[in-house]
Amino acid sequence: MFSSTAQAAPRSFMPIQGSTVAGYVDSLYAFLLIASFIACVLVIGGFIYFAIRYRRRSENDKTLYITHNNTLEFAWSFIPFVIFMVAFGWGWWVYDKMRVFPENALEVHVTGYMWAWDFMYKNGKRTTNEFTVPVNTPVKLIMTSRDVIHSFFIPSFRVKQDVVPGRYSALWFEATKTGSFQVFCTEYCGTGHSAMLATVHVVETEEYENWLQVDPYRGLSLLEVGQSVFEGRCLVCHSPGEDRKVGPGLGGLFGKQVLLDDGSTVLGDENYIRESILYPNAKITAGYPSGVMPTFLGQLDETELLGLIEYIKSLE
């Protein structure tokens, strides 16, 4: 779907530099690594040398009696202090670049919930678990959570910000390379934490403008719409087969009698599916805890809802 010149494949020093701040962070990291390496060589090399040089040769060894040396002690207090201050100041300078938001940034709203990310653009376009931004353009993400604290992390862009329920937090980046990059959730948020992944697609401005206007469901059958919604939002917790994930598998659900946790049964029809999506705690399948599934009321439009019902109907 997208031409990609850079992949999100992780590399061992640092991930690919995909944003304007990445280079600054990596230079600082390189400085810190070199300074750390020198410190380790001095300390570790020092004690290994001393330990071997002054190993015990006989039980009557005479040892030196040195209690302290002010000059030396001042030096090894002051020099680390200076290095630490350089690290601190440099870190502050780079951090400033991360946290001072450009004025004309393209704003995208992000909502995190267990366990997916929703993205919403100014023109109303919405996507789940992937979003697209133009290259060489400052982008500001305005983020909130619907349940617990999540954290939005794009390793290739070196940006990360916690996403907190009840308030908005923000981060910004300016992508410098086109391609697709990994997004992780980095604040522990429960069972699906490690599956709460997303992708950011960085494309040329023109391609972005076109993408923004395209109705993602144009030309798709209702079933295909449903499948796409299912894969984006439901698959984290529900298998299309019959096996258990976080929630029950939905294969063969339609037309079946579903045993509920209060002992009653309900027919798995359109009404039941719709209710379970919009009011997930109204009826709980036997053997599953209540209160786990978030509501999708107001999150899905009618087409998507009908599509989902069609898709679930089709599951064997």
Partner: protein
């Protein structure tokens, strides 16, 4: 069976009941030793299971929900039941009174009570396993900890009760250090282990109550829904993090300061050299303790706290680095011109310096705010704190146990075997955790039950390393049991150390010294 001396604290009274009701600090130390070893074993099993699950991408042995329980219990057990009581309550209890020439700690009954607090707290914490477990991580972050449908409340209550254990130990040590020093033992003549326990005790006293109230509020939040941490009721979930880290950052120093004290003892003893910069080490210990109260926000650089706050916390964190660096340089300088004997305790001490240095410099990388944004909550952090907590504290415990074992039980540990445990643990540790720095730099977040395939190779290496560590600790257990049963009888001062605990018999008599000691010289007078 014990020692050459007919009368000592081990045979002073007989029977299990005499142990469970003992007021002797040495016996309470042994009680702590047994419980800490058992908890460490359980926490270690959880660690092995974690590494097994992470051996390859995809689900291996447990579901993601199961994995989250593993990592929660591994963290909570290791922090609250192993590392926090590990040195102060176990080795400290045994040796603080001996090192200052006291007959006991100031409040023996409270001392015993503190052990029972740990036991009861641990029992409550483990109760959660019968109520669908706990899956919040040991940090209990709200609002997840309020919403999750598990037995979190048991684990939280258990941690609360264990807090009393820590407070009582701290209280006892402060008063003991102030009031029960032998004649002539001025503050500047105290062994550095005592200095470190004293500083630790102050942290335990001042920080733990804040954790107490925080955990109480969390319990109230779950039971009553008081809303202080719940955004839906006007509360602030991030406030919990502030409260939590106000305790838990000093807690990090509760874990590492006493370890540093042990290292000072080991380095001097096995190089027969007076410590270089005694006052600098003593004062830097107190300095670290004091400053550690003002750095908690470095756990929260990306939490949404203000940028200014983040920058200030970054600055103060850098300041903590200075006294830490001073100590390390002092230990290295102490070796200069010494007579170094490579017994297992010294190997552990050198291993400590090696690993702690790496843990320290990566700490600076994390304290630098701009790099922290990338590394926060990734495996880089996991590697960093394991280098400090395992590479630091556990190495010190191992070294301390081998060093003081002859004094505690009157028997000598097989040094060859002990050195093998060092090699296994040290090598295994680096194989396990060094790759995790790289994983973190590559962006892999922590607390992930599963990971993309790109991260698999390094995870495999890490898991293989963990088996080596496991093997090392199992061998260490064997070495200790072997020494208890068949170890050669130890003299009163097998290492030729100068501190007071070596001036009494091995094992020490019930009241520690046959004749109250009078101190005239410093603790490291090797001339």
């Amino acid at each position: 069976m014990h020692g050459a001396h007919s009368h000592n604290y081990l045979n002073h009274e007989k029977g299990l009941w005499s142990w469970l009701t003992t007021l002797d600090h040495k016996r309470i130390g042994v009680l702590y030793m047994i419980s800490v070893f058992i908890f460490f074993f359980i926490g270690g099993v959880f660690a092995m299971l974690i590494r097994w699950e992470l051996f390859s991408s995809g689900q291996n042995i447990v579901s993601p929900a199961g994995y989250n329980q593993l990592m929660t219990f591994h963290g909570a057990i290791m922090v609250f039941m192993v590392i926090i009581p590990g040195i102060p309550a176990f080795l400290g209890n045994f040796f603080l009174p001996l090192q200052i020439g006291a007959k006991d700690v100031a409040f023996p009954r409270l001392n015993l009570l503190s052990w029972y607090c740990l036991m009861v707290g641990a029992a409550i914490a483990f109760m959660s396993l019968f109520f669908s477990g706990a899956d919040t991580g040991w940090t209990f972050y709200t609002p997840y900890s309020i919403q999750t449908d598990t037995g979190t409340i048991w684990l939280v209550t258990g941690a609360f009760v264990m807090g009393f254990s820590s407070i009582l130990t701290g209280l006892n040590f402060v008063v003991t250090t102030h009031k029960l020093r032998a004649p002539g033992m001025t503050f500047w003549k105290m062994p550095l282990f005592v200095w470190s326990l004293y500083s630790t005790a102050i942290l335990q006293i001042l920080a733990t109550p804040v954790l107490g109230i925080t955990l109480l509020l969390l319990v109230a939040e779950r039971v009553l829904g008081i809303g202080i941490f719940d955004p839906a009721l006007g509360g602030d979930p991030v406030l919990f993090q502030h409260f939590f880290w106000f305790y838990s950052h000093p807690a990090v120093y509760i874990m590492i300061l006493p370890a540093m004290g042990i290292i000072s003892e080991l380095i001097t003893t096995y190089s027969r050299k007076t410590i270089f910069g005694y006052k600098a080490i003593a004062l830097s210990t107190v300095g670290i303790a004091a400053v550690s109260f003002f750095v908690w926000g470095h756990h929260m650089f990306v939490s949404g706290q203000s940028e200014i706050a983040g920058i200030i916390f970054s600055f103060i964190t850098m300041l903590v680095g200075v006294p830490t660096a001073i100590k390390t340089f002092n230990w290295v300088a102490t070796l200069y011109g010494g007579s170094v004997r490579f017994d297992a305790p010294l190997l552990y001490a050198l291993g400590f310096i090696f690993l702690f240095t790496i843990g320290g410099v990566t700490g600076i990388i994390l304290a630098t705010i701009a790099t922290n944004v990338h590394f926060h909550d990734t495996y880089f952090v996991v590697a960093h704190f394991h280098y400090v907590m395992v590479g630091g504290t556990l190495m010190a415990i191992m070294g301390g146990v081998y060093h003081w074992f002859p004094k505690m039980f009157g028997r000598i540990v097989d040094d060859g075997m002990a050195r093998i445990t060092f090699v296994l643990i040290f090598v295994g540790f680096n194989v396990t955790f060094f790759p995790q720095f790289v994983l973190g730099a590559m962006g892999l977040p922590r607390r992930y039950a599963d990971y993309p395939v790109a991260y698999e190779a390094l995870n495999k290496i890490s898991s293989i390393g963990s088996w080596t560590i496991g093997l090392g600790f199992l061998l260490a257990l064997y070495v200790i049991i072997h020494a208890l049963k068949r170890g050669e009888k130890a003299g009163d001062n097998p290492w030729g150390a100068r501190t007071l605990e070596w001036q009494t018999s091995s094992p020490p008599p019930h009241e520690n010294f046959d004749k109250p000691p009078v101190v005239t010289a410093g603790p490291y007078e090797y001339r």
